[in-house]
Amino acid sequence: MDNIKKLLEEKNTANAKLNSRRHFLKDCTLGLGGMALGSLLGSCFSGKESLGVSGAERLLNPLSPSAPPFLPKVKSVIYLHMVGAPSQLELFDYKPELVKLNNKPCPESLLKGKKFAFIRGVPKMLGPQAVFSKEGESGNWVSNNLPHFKKIIDEVAFLKAVHTDQFNHGPAQTFMFTGSARLGRPSLGSWVTYGLGSENANLPGFVVLTSGGAAPDAGKSVWGNGFLPSVYQGVHCRSKGDPVLYLSDPKGVNRTLKEKLIKSINDINLKEHEKFNDPEVLTRINQYEMAYKMQVSVPDVMDINNEPEYIHEMYGVKPGEESFANNCLLARKMVEKGVRFVQLYDYGWDAHGDLEATSLTAGFLKKCQMMDRPVAALILDLKQRGLLDDTLVIWGGEFGRTPMQENRIGVGNLFVGRDHQGDAFTMWMAGGGIKKGVVHGKTDELGYTGVEGRVSVHDIHATILHLLGFDHEEFTYQFQGRPFRLTDVEGRVINEILS
């Protein structure tokens, strides 16, 4: 509640102080001249502590926090995306009927009018490659591939009948993260940071963490700013090299010298401002100061060594490696520091069964092991810190998998796998504003299509925006003459999973 109060207060102050560039110049520039670098802008602006948000602050820092139009349920988002689309049939969507049909030829009725990425001709049906049980007080189903998940099963709300109209990775991911299958639209995280800014001036507002050895198929467009200003683009924090591109000081230069360099730049720029009176110069001065601070705060938040041993144990992290576990812990640290949107991408879930690494009985199990423990740890850790109520955690893939076994170009694979399926798959959400332990949506006996409570990608987006305090139909950006929405002309808030 404190948080909501704070956001409301922010909003009121923001409205009261609807400052134009002129006001800003009048209120804040007088007396700038004599100040030292450290407190150059301190009188008007400071990082997390400042409550007041003004138009002027957005001019100086486009990521300064701003309150949403409606009462928000959460203030940050952690989105866990399993790149390649994990099989719902081996994790959450238990289909006993499919056991009976195992290895039988697929009925023609299931194939008619359908298109697949790789299945050709008549494939065989494939029973669940896992053992399922009902867990927790909710008694919801989960497979033995996810033993740790059982601990948090009562925290999450399942969406069992999500559907997408794309069945190839690239377009489906682009659709899942920008609301359009074609490139060119802003990503979900960009929309959110555009709308809300960041709580921490010294960290990017929208952070992307990748694991699994490759970037998502759709490339950087899934965290791209599209037509929004580039400042709202996701910042890829990397495990190797600079955590943020060009973050570290040049070779042979230390912090003191760097500080002097920036002071010199800002001193001269201040003189430039005195002469030309261009507010952009002041913005630039502020950006150089922020850049200097980011150089310290980003490596600090990216360092998991300073976390206690029990936390390392809980997540199963190995410092210094690029792993999904490390990224889950980083996500928690970032949310704690006020990062608005943390997007995780874990590559390697495309279990076709054409190789051992993509087999549901080999490579896929390894992926489950690597994912299960840190995800459970993340939820529990957020909870024990009281952060879960302010955070929305989303888990999912870009589509689901077929109840048929993949038979690459009509022949059949050496290993067990499933092809892409857009018609029905499982996602879940947990955290602030989410009903605990509920299941929304149901698939048919084979998990092939949704029969109840179907929700679209646009519905997911509408729900996320709703929890952050936006009406997805009103939250628009004017581009090339017309207003654009994340949800295009669709989307419905999934009230069934809201508390």
Binding site: S230, L245, K251, I268, E272, N277, E280
Partner: protein
């Protein structure tokens, strides 16, 4: 005198009547309501979202007059022209029942708004035309007050137009910017680089005039490079295909064509026609074909399982949208799904425009076919020989057919046009058909045009594979058959035609269209799953003439050889029109969805714009002539407005992407029309003349200092009482750093280059492409030559607002962020430049070096306070390296050993290269 007397009475009567009517009128003012100025803004903001192009609630729309006065679902019309009293619209505005009052559940319209609508209906509810849909006319140059003359402000007509608007708001222009600053500003606006020192000095020393200085800038080939970046954003030029695999596309010759066309100052109408329809011009040159790649910059999807037709349609839609975004400032994309929400463009008109574009050969093929084959010398001599043979023994038409085939491998039927009969023994994958034993595929409505030779590209995996061609049914008449053995070369390369194998067989003369069945069998013992054959395309061609002449078999063989052997980088995607027998029909799509086609449409242009001239061809070429017609109201205005935006950071119509009814009104309408009219007429569509005219104006040459008064009266510089002061573009920032440090390469053209980029940026799946750092001078080329990968653009340039070029971008949104500071402070590209810059000045006493560096970089004198600040930085740095000399062993770059002085100068150089005065154009 007599007459006068006689008329005196009459005059008196007349004047009395006149005065009475004057009094009468003043008592009952009968102001004519303007539809465009008064009514349309109310309709757009209050009514049209429910009653317009998107929604027609209650059967009512205010988009067109015929719709607005038509009978609605209630059985009566909403507007009865001439009678507001009887008009339901007005009743509903006054309604007290909130469920009945309009706008529905929204605040009541103001008294004034209702009054406007009432009067307008009483006056006949006349519709009007939005200003931007009326072609610009010749403008009279206005005369501002004397004070502007006294201030020497009125250099050219632009200043007259700007001055009269300043008078309106009681503003006065700034003083001219000092020569050093205007020289640098103008140089960036023309060439994208600071001025060369020799012409700069000549100008400072009054050896050449300002105009001569500007002329010299235009002679610099950097002009084409600078403005190409501007155009390439509209053209969505990139070096990859986009989507998942995002593989390399070899289309850089188009970028080079743009640079050349700009440098040659190709008139903008020709520039446009060649890009939209160069292939349809009479006897097009190679360059004109290259230009047509403008619309081949659409993305292609090479992922398995995607429907080529879906992405072909997506590309065509993108071409329609891009054409209107780039050239018409019209949000045509709105009309894909329904009539335009605000502008008078009907849903059907979108598809009529699409019909112009819908008949091109390309259809989301894996290798971006059709492509112009740039033949090497060996192939050219072969080609010459064959074409000479054909000229000698055949007709002109035959020569044309073979020439087209050699140049483009066109026309062909591609694998994606076939249907697989039984999915168990044949399949289509990305770009080819695969056959297992007994597999069969079908091409509906094939037409051989009575040609007697069938060519097909194939790769055979087994011995003794019989390929059979049948007519009209799976077991129909055999029209051709051939037995082939295993091919030795590797599979058909994804890169191009290098190892393509083509086979030719004779077929009978077939009249009209037929269904072609192709099957493959072998009697060899193989596994059921073994693939026999891949097939990528087939084509029907006439027999090569000269059958009985000596050397004929060799010519036939050489012709087939000629169809392969071109390198990937020499295959350039082009726009080509399908021949008549392969042409497509165009349908409207229900709600814009390609899966639900509705009625068929024929090519036509939107009726809100200039009409069609029947002398134009009813194809893309005619469309290009329509868009570049002097009667088109939007083309010249669009270009003028966008050039103005590039130079002033603000459009005369500030919504530079849209001049429709939702756009901001022009700040200087007469100036926009004067420039647009003169651009088409006295300037003959010359971009150089247009830019020069702007640069010569006093408006442009003003100092950019913002006075207190000016910042309060005109914070956004709408009235141009000061000069522009813009941050440099991403390319300019990079190019300038390399320029001042002496590293910049002057090399022009060629495939995209790869300057240093941090490791691990390119991680595309299913794609072995690597960022391989360019060597030698290619490391230091101008920014516009940097390889553009759509899903992973060059990071330091994205930080400075370069877009991803997936679709047409009209505007880069300038941002000012900490990540930008990190680039120019820490990116090795900038560190290398700072070090090289310091090195150029390191043999001077350090104070001189600092002064010279500052002045060389910024074209300004170094004031004492700034000098002191930099000297302090130098001393701090020098002290630091005296105490910890270790930093000098690896200074800025790996293994770079430097002296304390050089390191300290490089630190100062970094400071200078991060100054606002360095990063903006002053």
């Amino acid at each position: 005198m007599f007459f006068l007397k006689k008329y005196k009475k009459l005059l008196l009567v007349a004047s009395i009547i006149f005065f009475i009517s004057l009094i009468f009128n003043s008592l009952r003012p009968k102001k004519i309501i303007s539809y465009t100025a008064d009514v349309k803004p109310i309709l757009n903001s209050k009514c049209i979202s429910c009653h317009g192009g998107v929604k027609k609630n209650a059967g009512l729309s205010f988009l067109f007059r015929d719709e607005a006065i038509a009978v609605t679902q209630s059985g009566k019309p909403s507007i009865i022209p001439g009678s507001a009293k009887k008009s339901e619209l007005i009743k509903r505005l006054h309604e007290t029942d909130l469920e009945e009052r309009m706008p529905y559940r929204k605040p009541k319209l103001s008294e004034k708004e209702i009054e406007i609508l009432t009067k307008w209906i009483d006056q006949g509810a006349k519709w009007g035309t939005h200003w931007a849909y009326i072609a610009p006319e010749k403008q009279n140059i206005p005369k501002p007050g004397k004070s502007f003359e006294e201030l020497n402000f009125l250099t050219n007509p632009i200043d007259h137009f700007v001055a009269v608007r300043m008078e309106d708001v009681s503003l006065f222009p700034n003083k001219p910017a000092p020569k050093n600053l205007i020289a640098r500003r103008a140089a960036f606006d023309v060439t994208g680089l600071p001025p060369e020192k020799n012409i700069y000095n000549n100008f400072l020393e009054n050896k050449i005039s300002y105009e001569q200085f500007i002329d010299k800038l235009f002679d610099n080939l950097g002009y084409g490079e600078n403005w190409a970046s501007w155009w390439l954003d509209f053209a969505r030029y990139a070096d990859t295909n986009g989507f998942e695999a995002d593989r390399t596309r070899s289309i850089w010759r188009y970028r080079d064509w743009v640079i050349n066309a700009l440098n040659q100052d190709k008139p903008f109408d020709e520039f446009t026609i060649e890009q939209l329809a160069g292939d349809l011009l009479p006897n097009p040159s190679v360059d004109q074909f290259i230009a047509t790649a403008f619309h081949r910059n659409t993305m292609t999807n090479q992922e398995g399982g995607t429907d080529d037709e879906e992405y072909r349609v997506a590309a065509i839609i993108d071409r329609v949208n891009t054409t209107f975004d780039a050239l018409q400032s019209t949000t045509m994309s709105c009309v894909q799904c329904h009539s335009h929400p605000y502008d008078p463009i009907r849903h059907k008109e979108y598809y009529e425009v699409m019909a112009f574009f819908n008949n091109t050969v390309d259809s989301d093929h894996n290798h971006n076919e059709p492509r112009l084959r740039i033949l090497d010398e060996k192939l050219i001599s072969k080609s010459d020989k064959i074409l000479k043979w054909i000229s000698n023994y055949g007709s002109k038409d035959e020569k044309k057919i073979f020439e087209r085939f050699i140049t483009f491998i066109d026309p062909v039927y591609y694998a994606n046009q076939f249907e697989v009969i039984d999915k168990n023994d044949a399949y289509f994958l990305t770009s080819y058909l695969g056959f297992r034993n007994g597999g069969q595929v079908l091409l509906k409505n094939a037409n051989s045009l009575k040609n007697r030779v069938l060519y097909f590209s194939n790769f055979v995996y087994q011995n003794g594979v019989t390929i059979t061609f049948r007519k009209n049914s799976p077991n129909g008449r055999v029209i051709g058959k051939v037995k082939l053995d295993k091919d030795k070369s590797p599979n058909i390369s994804t890169e191009g035609y290098d190892d393509q194998k083509v086979t030719a067989i004779k077929i009978p003369k077939i009249e009209g269209s037929f269904d072609l069945y192709i099957s493959a069998e072998t009697s060899e013992k193989i596994k059921k799953s073994d693939v026999l054959l891949d097939l990528e395309w087939i084509s029907f061609l006439p027999e090569i003439p000269g059958k009985n002449k000596p050397g004929y078999p060799r010519i036939k063989k050489q012709f087939i050889e000629l169809l392969s052997g071109t390198k990937f980088s020499d295959l350039h995607p082009v726009t080509l029109e399908n021949p008549e027998h392969m042409s497509r029909k165009t349908f409207m799509f229900d709600r814009g969805n390609w899966m639900t086609p509705k009625e068929e449409v024929k090519p036509n242009v939107p009726s809100n714009l200039n009409g069609w001239d029947n002398k134009w061809e009813k194809n893309r070429l005619g469309f290009a002539k329509w868009i570049t017609s002097k009667k088109n109201p939007l083309t010249a205005r669009t270009i003028v407005n966008r050039i103005w935006y590039q130079i002033f950071g603000r459009g005369i119509v500030n919504t530079i992407e849209d001049m429709g009814t939702q756009s901001e009104p022009p700040s200087h309408p007469a100036l926009l029309d004067w420039l647009s009219y003169e651009f088409m007429n006295s300037m003959d569509w010359s971009l150089k003349k247009l830019i020069k005219t702007i640069l010569l104006s006093s408006t442009y040459r003003q100092s950019s200092i913002i006075s207190k008064e000016n910042s309060i009266k005109d914070p956004d510089n709408v009235f141009y009482a000061r000069g522009p002061r813009l941050r440099l573009t991403a390319e300019q920032i990079r190019d300038q750093a390399l320029f001042v440090s002496g590293l910049l390469s002057k090399k022009m053209f060629g495939p995209g280059v790869m300057p240093p980029q941090p490791d691990g940026i390119w991680e595309s799946p299913y794609n072995g492409d690597q960022w391989v750092e360019s060597k030698g001078e290619d490391k230091y080329r101008r920014g516009l030559y940097t390889f553009v990968k759509r899903t992973s653009p060059y990071p330091s340039m994205t930080t400075f607002d370069v877009n991803m070029r997936e679709v047409c971008y009209v505007k880069r949104i300038p941002t000012n962020t900490p990540l930008q500071a990190l680039v120019t402070l820490n990116d090795p590209v900038y560190l290398e430049a700072a070090l090289a810059f310091a090195n150029l000045h390191s043999n001077k006493p350090y104070e001189d070096a600092i002064k010279d560096m500052f002045e060389f970089a910024t074209y300004r004198e170094l004031s004492d306070d700034k000098l002191n600040s930099l000297i302090n930085l130098y001393n701090d740095s020098s002290d630091f390296y005296t105490k910890s000399p270790d930093g000098l062993n690896d200074f800025y770059l790996e293994n770079k050993k430097v002296s304390n002085k050089l390191a300290s100068l490089a630190i100062v150089a970094s400071a200078i290269m991060n100054l606002d005065e360095f990063l903006t154009h002053g």
